[in-house]
């Protein structure tokens, strides 16, 4: 029986160099050359300034903008670093709510959000994604229903005709891939950029 230490050590070092350094660094170079925008995080610019990533949701609270889904991300409490406070769409620390189906906290949160949404657009059923947090807390999308639900509020806040805003939403709906994969959705940041553009005209 030969001593396994030498092959173990040499192979560990050599394969570490290949798979742990050579592979990721080579891929970084290659990806940056072929897909520079995607490799850097799909950043979106307006007037020469980065306003976010097209793939990462951001917090919208104003009535003038379409709002994304509730987000469960947190951040360290500035007054006490051992605790965390809610910090929606914190893209430096992704997190879901992890509340289970019989959680009283979840039931309470959804009840509150539902009441707020119902007062915003009475008589219309509230789309489920508008009152549930996403897995990542950074969901960039809402369902087409959830965007359409917000049209009256946004149109009123901007003094735009509802039909124009509704048309804008419709033009921004991404369908399923090849009609099969995934779910129809609207990217909230892209929609809001288009909305600002629409008002500027």
């Amino acid at each position: 029986m030969s001593n396994p230490l030498r092959p173990a050590l040499v192979l560990l070092i050599a394969l570490t160099a290949i798979t742990g350094l050579g592979y990721p660094l080579a891929m970084t170079g290659l990806a940056g050359a072929i897909f520079p925008a995607e490799a850097a995080g799909s950043l979106v610019e307006r007037d020469g300034r980065s306003v976010g990533s097209g793939l990462i949701g951001q917090s919208f609270t104003s009535d003038r903008y379409f709002q994304g889904r509730p987000s469960a991300t947190t951040a360290a409490d500035p007054s006490d670093a051992t605790r965390t406070i809610p910090s929606p769409y914190n893209a430096a620390s992704s997190s879901g709510s992890n509340l289970g189906p019989t959680s009283a906290a979840l039931a309470e949160r959804v009840t509150g959000d539902l009441a707020a949404r119902r007062s915003e657009n009475p008589g219309r059923p509230v789309p489920v994604d508008l009152v549930t947090t996403s897995g990542s807390g950074l969901d960039p999308d809402v369902s087409p229903d959830a965007a359409l639900f917000q049209v009256p509020r946004v149109a009123k806040a901007r003094n735009l005709a509802e039909d124009r805003v509704r048309g804008l939403v419709a033009s921004r709906v991404q369908g399923r891939l090849l009609g099969v994969l995934g779910e129809p959705r609207v990217n909230v940041l892209a929609l809001n950029l288009a909305l600002d553009e629409l008002e500027r005209k």
């Binding site: 742990g20 897909f35 995080g41 990462i56 609270t61 879901g96 992890n98 059923p125 996403s134 990542s136």
Partner: protein, 571 residues
């Protein structure tokens, strides 16, 4: 449930099945040492590695030597990863200034990656430097996956050889798996992922000003190269805390579909490798069929449960299923499919938060893992896991008809059955034993975020996931504590090596046996009767053990939720 949903599931199954044969053929060539189309490039690299390491590629090993080589390799890998995590602050590629990882977390993370579990007590973007992610995690993803495949191949050699004293060379199997199988696939895969929007950069986090004028810090990094291997190698450890739910790990419906396929691709192809190496591809298909039956049953329940949604939320007038913890771009079906696949295989990547699944939707992932992850399973691990069950099935069938059981011409005797049962019994011991411990000590009870039966489910899920080397979690559990880091770390190490070593011992004793020719009384192991028996044995031997524990968690929660009962934490 919608027609479109079932079409997505059917399409997934079709693609995995279509890949099994070509990939299996290629991998068989790799493991039997034949030339492949990549040999002109890779053979010189391979020879250079052997020369430097003093390995004679033609010298095969006895099962015990094979096992010792594997253990030595892992011991060194474990120590070096632990050291790297402890000193990452002083090393380069740390643009966001991550500090040294605490000892208990470093132990847990090292155990997690060396055992192909990739349990995430660490927070990814908030804990680890880019160097730790690349040099530590990415590289262990390759090596632990390659080890699983190597061990499965060694066990297959046990069945395919007669009167042999050796089961192959660990060094050669390991090296060839990394060079010929994992690395080429990962290179293509990484480029595909970047094309979909997965970042691959060494720059630090990006600062932007949102449309409403707030500051947003967006974590990026060398993500794509790690995501590629974590999926293909059924490792599952995310670059980010929320894993494949993060838009940067899994940006589109297409990236999601390919990721689910890639979890199963190698594992499913391994059944074909098995068939080819024992000289009868039908044997491989029979095993894949048993896996397929169990998989379809599981995915159907998850899809149904998540589509139906939570009775508590539905009572508020919500429709559209359970979207808490799920991303809009994946919706119900792609999240349910991902959950069933990632726990059937030992991947553990998640694209939705399992903790927020409905009671029954979250129970199926637990069952998938408790059965030993033999439904396709981890790369390699799934094959040796199900072969262990095959041995028990053959034994039971032999008892029923009163004949000495045979499988592929090998007599299955006391030693093989003992080794098989040892491997099978290790999992419930770790899963249920540690769960029981955690529910009686204060340090364990401090963990769950949810109250009532769901809190118990969080603990059960954690130890199930650790011992099965899955790595997914009911993420509400505060697992980054000394108690959980230590117990989960031990669960992972035992769950890995106390299955591997008996499986290798079985390989050695099988290889030494002569092959007896099939006779009229030989039980055929490529037909429907065998598939049915195998499924039955898996459910009875593997499943019944866990029924009482499941009754305390998800089943009771399902009944309580149906009555509209909720549980307040801290109450």
């Amino acid at each position: 449930m919608t027609i479109n949903g079932w079409i997505q599931i059917a399409l997934f199954c079709a693609v995995v099945l279509a890949l099994a044969r070509p990939l299996g053929g290629y991998m068989t060539r790799v493991f039997t040492g034949e030339r492949t189309f990549l040999s002109p490039v890779l053979a010189p690299v391979e020879r250079g590695l052997y020369r430097a390491a003093g390995i004679d590629a033609d010298q095969e090993q006895h099962w015990l030597t094979y096992a010792l080589a594997m253990l030595a390799f892992h011991a060194l890998g474990f120590l070096s990863l632990y050291a790297l995590l402890r000193v990452q602050a002083a090393l380069p590629f740390n643009p966001d200034g991550q500090s040294a990882v605490a000892p208990d977390l470093a132990f847990n993370t090292a155990a997690s990656f060396v055992t192909n579990t990739n349990w995430q007590s660490y927070g990814g973007e908030t804990t680890l430097s880019y160097l730790a992610q690349m040099l530590g995690l990415t590289h262990q993803n390759f090596l632990s996956a390659a080890t699983g495949i190597a061990l499965a191949v060694a066990l297959v050699r046990g069945f395919s050889r007669a009167s042999a004293t050796t089961v192959g060379s660990f060094w050669v199997d390991l090296t060839r798996t990394v060079l010929y199988v994992l690395l080429p696939l990962c290179i293509l895969y990484t480029l595909f992922l970047v094309s979909q929007g997965v970042p691959q950069t060494l720059g630090g986090a990006v600062e932007v000003t949102t449309l409403e004028g707030a500051r947003q810090t967006i974590a990026v990094g060398p993500v794509a190269s790690q995501v590629a291997i974590k999926m293909l190698g059924t490792n599952g450890g995310g670059f980010f805390n929320v894993n494949a739910a993060h838009p940067f790990e899994n940006p589109t419906a297409l990236s999601n579909f390919i990721q689910i396929v890639s979890i199963f691709a190698i594992g499913a192809a391994m059944t074909n490798v098995f068939g080819r190496m024992v000289g009868d591809e039908r044997q491989g298909w029979a095993i894949l069929a048993a896996m397929g039956v169990l998989f379809l049953a599981g995915v159907s329940v998850v899809y149904w449960a998540e589509s139906a949604g939570s009775p508590v939320l539905n009572s508020f007038g919500l429709t559209g299923g359970n979207m808490e913890g799920k991303e809009v771009r994946f919706g119900i079906v792609a999240s349910a499919l991902f959950a069933a696949v990632t726990t059937a295989a030992s991947c553990g990547a998640v694209n939705a938060m399992h903790d927020s699944f409905t009671a029954l939707g979250g129970m199926i992932p637990m069952i998938n893992m408790q059965l030993g992850e033999i439904i396709v399973g981890g790369v390699g691990a799934g094959l040796y896991g199900i072969l262990v069950f095959v041995v028990v099935t053959i034994f039971v069938a032999g008892l029923m008809v009163g004949r000495t059981p045979e499988y592929l011409g090998k007599k299955i005797e006391g030693r093989e059955v003992k080794m098989a049962m040892l491997a099978i019994l290790c999992l419930p011991l770790m899963m249920l034993g540690f769960t029981a411990l955690a529910t009686v000590v204060a340090a364990g009870l401090a963990g769950p975020a949810n109250a009532g039966p769901h809190g118990f489910s969080e603990i059960l899920y954690a130890f199930t996931s650790a011992a099965a080397n899955n790595g997914s979690a009911f993420g509400g559990l505060s697992a980054n504590t000394t108690f959980y880091n230590a117990t989960l770390g031990l669960g992972m190490l035992f769950g890995r090596f106390f299955v591997i070593v008996p499986a290798l011992a079985m390989a050695g004793s099988l290889a030494a046996k002569t092959t007896v020719p099939a006779s009229a009384g030989t039980f055929p192991t490529h037909g429907g009767l065998f598939v049915g028996l195998l499924v039955g044995v898996i459910l009875i031997v593997g499943g019944l053990t866990f029924f009482p524990a499941l009754a305390l968690g998800p089943i009771v929660e399902h009944l309580a939720g149906g009555l509209g009962q909720t549980f307040a934490a801290g109450g």
